[in-house]
Subunit: 258 residues, 2 copies
């Protein structure tokens, strides 16, 4: 099983993002989607979308504390986004892992965990690459970090350094979309989590550095030469006319879910 | 068959966009994807993506003449985008339609044409709604025109006006994503095309006004009360670090397709 953990938050494009993401995942065999809402309660929008998705899923939620949340106008790099939600997904996996200890040995042995943001683009091949992860597998990510792509650099089958536009000496200069970890490693390292207070660019490192070394990384995607995931971002839709019409009482029907 | 005509052009996010779009379409039975590149030749990127998509498809191309193309820095509303490409798709359909006259009567009778931009988000339900179009079917579009949604307004099963934030008296104030047309109507109206010189917001009208009236529109999506398509737009990725590294000869390998 591939457990895909996706943080998500309410905004105009949320349903559209989750919709196309669910269509991608629906092509992937043995995928379990763990959707973690940045909200103090589960929402009906996400509940209904998941129920109609045809996927195997779990709906979780945890609100990012206000002081850790990016405020309107803050530059996007100021605080990491989705950290608490990914940790909530890890907590659920560990709870499930200990509940089923012994019983589902094989299922746990072969399971993999991937952190998939709701706005990225994923090739179906990516999931076949990560499916056989022993510890932590890695691959390039397109359109991230101000670069055409960032990537581990492989020599003799091992990762020897990282191609990145910024601070290559970070412990793991890898985007969230660029690695998967075996469930086994998640369960045997119960304290490995994302540090929501990590400096910009160090969130992935905060999780990975306790569980793996660079030498142990498993390069995938033809020795990290193929781009199978893209760090796309979706524009925030302008609501200029909507706002104007709403002032006249002529706005779009608020009962219609967008 | 649903013939989906998609204009597309080379840019950093092109492969990502076409990738997730192809994953959506792969869930839809009896869909034929007509991809029309804004290019003077077919590209290898699009050819390979289509070949690996698992879809039934046709790859076409036509370059937008320079004087009709939006230039860097032009406001996005200045010139319609994708008009020549959609017309090339129509030309191909008509050519195919006359080549198969008589032989594939039923196939043509039940076929539908939809214009799907490469950056929008489509629910799978949308295709089941449009599949039974007699003339022109219509439905709401989310996140378009500065509004939460734009939509035909239906009364007694007929479209009586349009909910839009701008010039509701245009002949058809409907986004490209908001209608489908029967192939029959396309073939029996050989001169109906998109006018690449149409004023802003009048491109859809330029095609529709010759073939249908408002009264004849077929409202879908529960009488135009459900949003099944979203006019999402993808951010242009920043290449700041890439540009800096390239100047030092350390840029991302140009042989890696992104
Ligand atoms: O306040 C927020 C902002 C973002 N996210 C989620 O965290 C992930 C990363 O956020 P985003 O895609 O905005 O980050 P970026 O594209 O800047 O890396 C996405 O799945 C978002 O839905 C969240 O849960 N709460
Ligand atoms: O020079 C261009 C610009 C756009 N398009 C295509 O035309 C459609 C509409 O363009 P876009 O999505 O940029 O328009 P908007 O989102 O502003 O409506 C999309 O399928 C694009 O790929 C094109 O073929 N050539
Ligand atoms: Mn993102
Ligand atoms: Mn668009």
């Amino acid at each position: 099983t591939i457990y895909v953990i996706t943080p998500t938050y309410a905004r105009l494009v949320q349903k559209a993002e989750l919709m196309r993401l669910s269509q991608t995942f629906l092509h992937v065999p043995q995928l379990h989607w763990v959707v973690v809402e940045d909200a103090d309660q589960p929402t009906a929008l996400v509940r209904n979308l998941l129920a109609e998705s045809g996927l195997t899923y779990t709906q979780l939620h945890i609100l990012t504390p206000k002081d850790r949340k990016l405020q309107e106008g803050d530059p996007s790099w100021l605080k990491p986004r989705g950290a608490e939600q990914r940790n909530e997904g890890l907590r659920w996996l560990r709870e499930m892992g200990s509940a089923s200890r012994g019983q589902h040995g094989a299922a746990v042995e072969n399971a993999v965990v991937y952190f998939a943001d709701d706005d990225n683009t994923y090739s179906l091949k990516l999931f076949e690459e990560m499916r056989y992860t022993q510890g932590v597998s890695v691959w390039p990510v397109g359109l991230v970090g101000g670069m055409r792509f960032e990537s581990p650099v492989v020599d003799g089958g091992k990762v020897i350094r990282f191609h990145t536009g910024w601070r290559p000496n970070r412990p793991f200069p890898i985007d969230m979309a660029g690695f998967a970890v075996s469930l086994h490693l998640v369960l045997t390292n119960p304290d490995a989590v994302f540090d929501g207070d990590a400096q910009m660019g160090f969130l992935e490192s905060s999780f990975l550095q306790g569980i793996i070394t660079m030498e142990e990384l498993e390069p995938k995607a033809d020795m990290c030469t193929k781009i199978l995931v893209w760090h796309t971002r979706t524009e925030k839709p302008k609501m200029k006319r909507e706002d104007a019409l709403q002032k006249q009482g002529l706005g779009s029907d608020p009962n219609v879910e967008v």
